[in-house]
């Protein structure tokens, strides 16, 4: 797990490990999916890993993240447990949510992953509220909230930015702008200025990274987190990225031709995992990949060997007690 950055050069082996690990986990999930071991919708982040890893690298272990149904990358980047994640996908009692969460609602309190939601946009205000509580308590944790471009269609996006700015809350808004909400491109949904510009309209310092470059993301995130941590109030990052697979499910869907071929090519050239991997010596890279493969197989065994929840579990946890 990334443990914060000390201002030195990026530690590429560690970063490649983080990026590659997410990729490998998701590719393995896609491979397994047709076997029906995972009976829950999966929204893969393949292609988008740099956002989660770049931002979580800038966060400390105690910081908090909120995310969406497309949450595997964020969960893993923040240090979420892989074994319990895989058990959750398999619907097992040892899963992050005892089999009640599935892929869409991963959570890991110990790692600061406060949960993921499948109602587009609805978790932004939860993150803002978490940050409000942090401010009220005088704590120094930063809350980062990941969301898609589609979430910005919702009024709560604006209400959340407004309130965060009004109270100068320690929250980092991270827009993973992959330009699509399912098949709908942002031009069909959004008028006017870009999102980070709209965020500035609320008096929130905002940045955009359009290149997909990992180091740019990392630097912007570090600057933002540092400013938030020292009482600078909310910050906003709009990070362009690209979803390589279909919106939901284990496959690619570019044969449906809803996205421009040129953009597909551009972003395939920018693949963040390949880019990071190419910075390493082949044997170093191979060692990382082998270690990841081993970890994944161990997690899968854990998941496979775990029991399904007992019938009594159906009625448990409706209320906390």
């Amino acid at each position: 797990m990334p443990t914060g950055n000390d201002g030195n050069l990026p530690d590429w082996p560690r970063l490649y490990h983080a990026l590659y690990r997410i990729r490998a986990v998701e590719e393995r999930i896609a491979e397994i999916y047709p076997s029906d071991l995972i009976k829950s919708p999966i929204h893969l982040s393949i292609g988008q890993e740099a956002v989660a890893v770049g931002v979580c690298e800038a966060l400390s272990a105690r910081d908090i993240v909120f995310g969406t149904y497309r949450g595997h990358a964020m969960y893993l980047a923040k240090g979420g447990d892989l074994k319990t994640m895989m058990a959750e996908l398999y619907g097992k009692a040892t899963g992050t949510g005892r089999g009640k969460s599935g892929s869409m609602h991963l959570m890991d309190n110990a790692a600061g992953v406060m949960g993921t939601s499948a109602i587009v946009g609805s978790h932004l205000s939860n993150a803002v509220g978490f940050a409000l509580a942090e401010q009220l308590k005088g704590g120094d944790r930063v809350t980062a909230v990941f969301f898609g471009d589609g979430a910005s269609d919702q009024g709560t996006f604006h209400e959340s930015l407004n309130f965060a700015s009004l109270k100068a809350l320690p929250v980092l808004f991270v827009c993973e702008n992959n330009d699509y909400a399912i098949f709908s491109d942002s031009a069909a949904r959004m008028a006017g200025a870009r999102l980070h510009e709209k965020a500035r309209g609320y008096g929130i310092e905002s940045d955009c990274i359009d290149s997909g470059e990992f180091t740019e993301i990392l630097e912007a995130a570090e600057a933002a987190v540092a400013s938030i941590r020292t009482g600078g109030g909310p910050r906003f990052l709009e990070i362009k990225t690209w979803r390589a697979m279909e919106h939901v499910g284990p496959s690619a869907d570019d044969h449906l031709n809803y996205r421009p071929a040129e953009a597909i090519q551009t972003w395939s050239r920018r693949d963040p995992v390949q880019a990071a991997g190419s910075r390493l010596a082949p044997d170093q890279r191979a060692a990382i990949e082998a270690a990841v493969a081993e970890e994944i197989e161990a997690a899968l065994s854990f998941a496979a060997d775990s029991p399904f929840p007992a019938a009594e579990e159906l009625g448990a946890h409706v209320f906390a007690s």
Partner: protein, 353 residues
């Protein structure tokens, strides 16, 4: 119903598409809006290519902004249009309850008849696999609480087409609840346009020993239960309310007056929902003067879990329904081993959504 026997078969999804196309062709004020209605999947095929056939002004994608887009539909209706607003899931209606409950349901009354709001809100419900707490609700039990809203829950392709046409032509807000596991269900659907009256229950199967009322996909499940009961000598009268608001309690109560037994199989939580309303009507009607036995079943009173073993317990099943029926008849029991219904729409589902 006999006239349907000769008619062509369509899937529930195609019946909805056909209803929409016919109404759009007939009436230029009808249009379709909603997230993804013009995308390659066309909301399970139900809006497929409407934007090509009728132009992008009459079937269009929207921002993910349920409150405002519902308000837009309401406003368009005030200006003489008949919008059909399509939502992937009823859960998302929680974002536009304000427009539905405070605006659409109120306008006719609060303006003393000066406004009418002919909108159709189509919303998907239902399981497939692992949809979880936020994508598995039904909530018609909540919506039917509000005067000024009509809420329909068709279970067959025939009713899907007829209800949608009736809903489009109705001058009031009509919410249409569509279970995803019904979209591929096939059944007879007349080619012409026809209306299924909103507020009239349908006796699906006549019988004399017990009245089973089931809603939406539970009608399909209840029919399977009836099959499982074939050798048990229980004559089931199966009633489909088709609409929960208005609710045709008369037809249901007439059946119960005959059978003296009621099992309500809800497709939702039962607390303060459709089944509560009908059981209350039974209490009011019979006033304990006759030994009318009642029972309701529905979603387990919890959010929906994702894992299959718990999901299977969460929803009523054909076997569970059959067993509940038999409990009205002491001494008869189901042999679970040899009584598992085929449920192709569930067993053949392979994801991803």
């Amino acid at each position: 119903m006999s006239s349907q026997a000769d008619t062509r078969e369509l899937s529930y999804a195609d019946a909805l598409l056909e209803a929409t196309r016919m109404e759009m062709a007939r009436d230029p004020s009808v249009f379709v809006m909603g997230q993804g209605v013009d995308d390659p999947k066309g909301h399970y095929g139900t809006t497929m290519n409407l934007h090509r056939e009728f132009g992008p002004g009459r079937s269009f994608d929207t921002p993910i902004a349920e409150e405002t887009m519902t308000g837009v539909a309401v406003g368009a209706a005030l200006n003489g249009m008949r919008p059909i607003h399509v939502h992937q899931r009823v859960d998302f209606l929680m974002l536009c309850m304000n427009q539905l409950v405070n605006m659409a349901a109120k306008m006719s009354y609060m303006f003393g008849g000066g406004a009418r709001v002919p909108i159709v809100v189509r919303a998907g419900i239902g399981r497939s696999w692992g949809q979880g707490a936020q994508h598995s609700q039904s909530l018609y039990g909540m919506l039917m609480h509000v005067p000024g809203l009509k809420v329909v829950v068709p279970s067959s392709p025939y009713d899907a087409k007829g209800c949608l046409i009736a809903a489009i032509r109705d001058d009031n807000p009509v919410i249409m609840i569509e279970h995803r596991m019904l979209y591929r269900l096939r059944g007879p659907v007349p080619e012409e346009a026809y209306e299924v009256p909103l507020g009239k229950a349908r006796v699906v199967r006549e019988g004399s020993d017990i009245t089973v009322v089931a809603i939406s996909h539970m009608v399909v499940e209840a029919l399977r239960a009836v099959d499982l009961l074939a050798s048990k000598g229980v004559s089931v009268e199966l009633v489909d309310p088709v609409s929960v608001a208005p609710l045709d309690t008369q037809t249901i109560l007439a059946s119960v007056a005959k059978t003296k037994r009621l099992l309500f199989v809800d497709n939702d939580w039962t607390i303060a929902g459709a089944s509560a309303e009908v059981l209350a009507a039974v209490a009011e009607t019979f006033q304990g003067r006759e030994p009318v036995q009642v029972r309701r079943m529905g979603y387990h009173p919890s959010p929906c879990p994702t894992t299959r073993p718990l999901e299977d317990l969460y929803y009523p099943s054909p076997e569970g329904i059959a067993e509940a029926v038999l409990e009205f008849f002491p001494g008869r029991a189901l042999d679970r081993e040899n009584s598992m219904a085929e449920r192709p729409e569930l067993s053949e589902f392979k994801g991803p959504f």
